[in-house]
Amino acid sequence: MTLAIILVIAAALGLALLLWTTFSRSLSISGDASLAGQIQPIDIAAFRNLVDPAEDAYLRRRLPASELRVVRRERLRAMLVYVQTAGRNAAVLTSMAQNALASTDAETVEAARQLVSNAALLRSNATVALFRIRVAMVWPTSGVAHAPVLLGYERTYEQLSGSAMLLGRLKNPAAPVRIAAS
């Protein structure tokens, strides 16, 4: 009887989750203009500075341990905001690229496919990076946040920015999409 109750609850939750994803999918389908408005440009140079191990080593040399922890937490908080914004931008770009997949122009479709792939890569990297940053916030003197995923992150974002601009130019040469502030 207990097993039956567990399985029935699991099935009901599964059905609710399924209907929720279906309805949110149909609600999220919107035009490129409204989607482009959701993009928040990111200053990649500032982000690169935040994740630079040399900067971190310099702070480690110059500051006492207690002060270093405070400064590191502040830097990690800033990093968190950057990565969250980049992850959100990647999701918006995926939606825009999916709209472009319906185009009749083969080059636009190929650019859209490339953009979805880049955006998905960035989104999965963002998830791992956010987890590492949160762990590092608990233990700020560790080097967890400076793992290869995070160091390669800004490069992935630049690639995504390039793909987005390419697709924007192919769809509308007058108004390319910008996701990087520098």
């Binding site: 009887m1 097993l3 039956a4 399985l7 029935v8 699991a10 099935a11 009901a12 599964g14 059905l15 989750l17 399924l18 994803t21 279906t22 949110s24 999918r25 999220s28 389908i29 999701a91 995926t94 939606s95 999916q98 319906a102 185009s103 009749t104 122009d105 080059e107 190929e110 650019a111 496919r113 490339q114 979805v116 792939s117 880049n118 955006a119 998905a120 890569l121 989104r123 999965s124 390669g152 490069r155 992935t156 690639q159 390039g162 793909s163 601009m165 390419l166 130019r169 192919l170 769809k171 509308n172 040469p173 007058a174």
Partner: protein, 264 residues
């Protein structure tokens, strides 16, 4: 009305399977045979299997033991085709995007292995609901299959929603129908296999299963046969000169960068 061998009971058992056969035929005619070969095979064999079980039930010449043998064969063939169909859905949703497909394949293998383990444990701890092994086994087999199927389909839905991937309309419709059917059947078979219900109450579960299956067949018909206005190609945007020259070089640059990132 909610009794075995009532008109409604006969309708719910036969009509969805007839519709499914018609859907398979019309999908074939519309050129889906290249895009969705497993779905067409699933539609044909699943419908024929269910109709075979139906005739085994109503024909007096078929013994109870032979009815359950037919049921076992039908469930086994249908479940093999269902898992092949899930693989087909996964390929359609994720394969066009290399980075997601790689991660998705890795994760779905882990999810699949965990679900098999959970289903085996659920079957091992289930009480015997019938003194006949053939009946008891059939109920547990249904519970096991629907548990794994529900988990795999939910994973596909959640994983694609996380990356905001929108599958093509027919693929989405097939996955939606299959997932709704799997969730409801999991609940009903869990009750059938673990709670010793009297025959009169068990019929209600049959009606729930058959009614859900009917709705799912209608969902498949809608998504495969009715053209959505939104999926029609939009009017080409007002574009300037054709995108050649520096645009093409840009794309090559980005491709090189991406390959360097992947092989780093």
């Amino acid at each position: 009305m909610l009794q075995a061998h009532s008109f409604f009971w006969h309708y719910l058992w036969t009509a969805p399977n007839v519709y499914l056969l018609l859907l398979a035929f019309m999908s074939w005619k519309r050129g889906f045979r290249k895009q969705l070969p497993v779905f067409i095979a699933f539609a044909i064999f699943s419908a024929l299997g269910q109709l075979a079980v139906y005739f085994a039930d109503i024909l007096p010449s078929v013994s109870a033991e032979n009815f359950w043998r037919v049921d076992w064969a039908s469930v086994l063939i249908e479940s093999l085709l269902k898992f092949a169909l899930i693989a087909e859905i996964f390929a359609h949703v994720f394969d066009p995007y290399a980075s997601v497909a790689k991660l998705g394949k890795l994760l779905i293998r882990g999810v699949g292995a965990s679900l098999v383990l959970a289903a085996a444990l659920a079957a091992a701890y289930a009480p015997k609901d019938s003194p006949y092994g053939l009946i008891n086994g059939a109920h547990l087999l249904e519970q096991t299959i629907y548990l794994i199927e529900t988990g795999l389909l939910l994973f596909i839905f959640l994983f694609s929603a996380y990356f905001r991937l929108r599958p093509e309309r027919p693929i989405f419709g097939i996955a939606l129908g299959l997932a709704i059917s799997a969730c409801v059947h999991l609940a009903t078979w869990a009750v059938a296999a673990n709670v010793g219900l009297p025959a009169a109450k068990r019929v209600i579960l049959d009606f729930v299963n058959m009614g859900t299956y009917h709705i799912c067949v209608l969902i498949w018909c809608y998504y495969l046969l009715v053209q959505n206005i939104r999926t029609k190609p939009p009017k080409p945007p007002a574009m300037g000169p054709p995108p050649v020259g520096p645009f093409k070089e840009d794309l090559e640059d980005w491709n090189q960068e991406l390959e360097r990132l992947i092989h780093r």
